[in-house]
Amino acid sequence: MSSFDVFYGLAFYLFAILTLVGAFGMVLTRNMVRSALLLVLALGGVATIYLLLSADFLAIVQLLVYVGAIMVLMLFAIMLTPNQVDLPALAERGQRLLALVVAIGFFIIATATVVTTSWKWSSEPLNTTTTLQIGQQLLGNFVLPFEIASVLLTAAMIGAIIIAQEE
């Protein structure tokens, strides 16, 4: 085990824990704004994880789009829909318990599957910059999804405007 591995591992654990803190906090806190901000933290953590996974372009995109745009949108929505403060933020006990069971059950089964599957790991994990290649792929192999994505975004935009319009 080289020192690289050690540092790499430490970095992973640090960022992972950060992300998890954000994630847990997000689902457990009662305050909406706090919840959104904690998600911001989580998403930021995810961006760093992308970096560790040699997805440099993706990390930036994550920050720009997710954190920068989507979360801002969420915050706007939270501001626009103020709840009475005394209303319960979390579901009743039974439902929470059931949700917990489902989530934990899912986690266990998925993990078990993942761990026991014999993946065909490659001998050389990816370790390059990706921007150029992503660009080439987007206009090459993935041009169709690319175009469809644009259509999707257009449709979403129009739909959102129409739905949210004042009568």
Partner: protein, 108 residues
Amino acid sequence: MLLPVGPIHYLIFATLLFAIGMYGALARRNAVAVLLSIELMFNGAAILFVTFARYLQIVQGFELAGQLFAIFIITVAAADAAVGLAIVVAVYRLRHTVQVDQIDLMKG
């Protein structure tokens, strides 16, 4: 096992995020909170894709497919968030509430 960090760690981590998001989607009462949780689930899935992009033997020419997938996930997530929040706002306008358990017009 803890070190060196390998693909399994990332996979477990991503699944954990997904599970947390799932819990949030089922247990929160605020509609926006549910949407936030869903965003978290998207991210979990995206991390899975990226992990496979890095560590898996992939067909020639599609080495970064996982990362591209993650990009599209983000795109779709954006669209979804936009429309979803538009709906939430519209519902708020009508019902003055965004508690999911109070929006039950389709009851019975």
